[in-house]
Amino acid sequence: MPRIRGKSKTAEILTLDQAVKKHMKNGMQIAFSGFTGFNRNPFAFSWEIVRQGFKDLHVIDRHGSCCTWLLNAVNAIKIYETDWMGWGEMAGKLDVNLSRNYQQGKMILEDYAHGAMAMRFLAGAIGAPFIPYSAPLGSDLYNPEYDALGKAGLRDGKKIPKKKFIQMEEPFWGDGDTVLLPAARPDLAIIHVAQAGDKGTCRWRGVGTIDKEISFACDRVVVIAEEVVPEAEMRKLPEANQIPYFTVDTIVECPWGAFPSSVPFYYDYDAPFMRLMDAASRNETDLKKWLDEWVFSPKNWEDFLVKLGAKKLLDLRADSVTGYSTRMMRGKKPAPRMKMALSVARSGY
């Protein structure tokens, strides 16, 4: 149910390792910001979770990402409630680590669909217990026999809702059957943003995915920011801000903290690096080597960036007009210089 707080939160500014130590617990429910492996994944936070060794996590999300890829690489996710269990789209669709853990019975998967997870977080955000949605009738997603958490006896009605869904006749308008979906109410939101004011007001550019909804649906919110700026700066253009300060518990300033995903207008995603992650996950020896090299050896996140090197960071740096980089080699040929989309050049809007 809605959590009556009584007073505004006061966000504190912590380092990455302090924030992980303070907020993470084994077995807790967490949700990450961004979109798949490509946009505003709080990867540095996930990286630090793995370094500090937290386990048995219950991730509620609308899809996998670089964060879940890494957690699955060390089998740190016990329950995964989501709708898309891949992570890298064109740079590594299936999460091989997840596949391996699931086949070995080490984790529970609960399937929903994208719109359904968005609506569950929306319900959580607005303090509603559930939400009706035209979730596809006749889909096995809403087959009463396919309720993994129910089958495992975990639907206690406390942190996990008593039912996966309820199909019912729409009672007000005669709109046929509808599906009621339970609100998502995780313990901790980890949101990567472009800028955070030092009081906690947050801003990103590019797509919003469901990050505002996640921030309101979770008990606690950790914001990882490319830059922390004076709160006064955020107040010059308030309509460009998405998250108000009073939801935020902790702010971490961590430049390049969403690598290898992108932060629009800051840096692009690193598709070649993601392809290497995907390749490493296909073999347990390679995976161990990758983890040792990229997760356990660096002294801290700054050291990780030093290891990536200046050339890589320069190539990924977004240009200020498009918000992405045209210097990155994403395919087999370099990106051409474009001034305008062809459709606009020839036919307008």
């Binding site: 798949t36 490509f38 087959n143 919003g208 001034k339």
Partner: protein, 300 residues
């Protein structure tokens, strides 16, 4: 010296819009352009990652320049210059009308009924257009576990029309799926435990008449008859009807075949190669143009 994009833009209309010969294009190009042909100029299109995205970008650059492209991460009408690798790629958000999030795209646009065409992939499909992107075998102990729905189940049932792009093999073209992620024209009614037409299961909702209308595979293009059963409309060049039937796990209706899938035109191929995927992210390699076409390009 390499031509600038502006120079290349100027020769588009000089390149003949006539069908290329079989040896002059490759299968992914044929498929991307077959996808593009499904898009109408007044469509609001909601597309998934991969070939669907390449196809609708091609459509936007050729036959449907005014089609509105929606991407699930929150992008409304992006005017893309560089092909995106993800539906949340900032490249897809370039010059968009508005940017929001999933509640916008799945709620305000899709559930509110604005989306006229969904374009999606799938791992397997049944003869009623039901798609499986979740698992093969027992759901709890699958022999193959795929990514799961993503937006597939929502878009594939709430867009007015949906086109699927699927790799066709006998084990992927089935009488009935092991798991139905996105129901087609027939599906289970879990209340009565009966297999029924979608129109009955979804009776009273706004979406009873929404569903799959086309399937593009590596072998042909398919439509659905009035009973909601798939039939072959065209087979791709170099593929016989017998081969198509062999690539099906059920007895495919081939009585309404119109002939070969239209070959891409030289102009469509030029746009796809030079403007949609010049970085060779989706296309495996640059295919050479015939001498007469190359001569036109050289004059740019």
């Amino acid at each position: 010296m390499a031509k600038s994009m502006e120079q290349l833009m100027e020769v588009i209309d000089l390149i003949p819009d006539e069908p290329a010969k079989v040896s002059e294009f490759i299968l992914p190009e044929l498929m991307a352009i077959a996808v593009a042909h499904e898009v109408r100029n007044d469509d609001i299109v909601f597309a998934g990652t991969g070939l669907p995205m390449v196809g609708i970008m091609t459509a936007n650059f050729t036959n449907a320049p005014k089609a509105t492209l929606i991407y699930e991460s929150g992008i409304c009408d992006g005017k893309t210059m560089h092909v995106p690798m993800s539906v949340c790629d900032q490249r897809a958000a370039n010059q968009s009308s508005t940017l929001g999030g999933l509640v916008d795209t799945f709620g305000y646009y899709l559930q509110q009924g604005f989306v006229s065409l969904g374009f999606l992939g799938g791992a397997a499909i049944d003869k009623y257009g039901g798609v499986n992107v979740t698992s093969i075998g027992d759901y709890y102990k699958p022999s193959h576990r795929f990514t799961g729905s993503g937006g597939n189940a929502d878009i594939g049932t709430m867009a007015k029309r949906t086109a699927f792009i699927i790799l066709q093999e006998k084990r992927r073209f089935l009488e009935r799926n092991d798991y139905t992620t996105t129901p087609g024209w027939w599906c289970w009614d879990f209340k009565t435990k009966e297999w029924k037409p979608k129109k009955e299961v979804w009776k009273g909702t706004a979406f009873a008449d929404c569903g799959p209308t086309a399937v593009v595979t590596n072998m042909g293009v398919y439509r659905f008859d009035k009973n909601g059963i798939i039939y072959l409309e065209t087979h791709h060049p170099g593929i016989t009807i017998e081969q198509v039937k062999d690539g099906c796990g059920f007895d495919l209706n081939v009585s309404m075949v119109k002939g070969e899938t239209a070959h891409p035109t030289y102009r469509e191929l030029f746009v796809l190669r030079e403007f949609v995927d010049p970085e060779l992210i989706f296309l495996p390699a640059k295919t050479e143009y015939p001498a007469a076409i190359q001569a036109i390009i050289n004059k740019a």
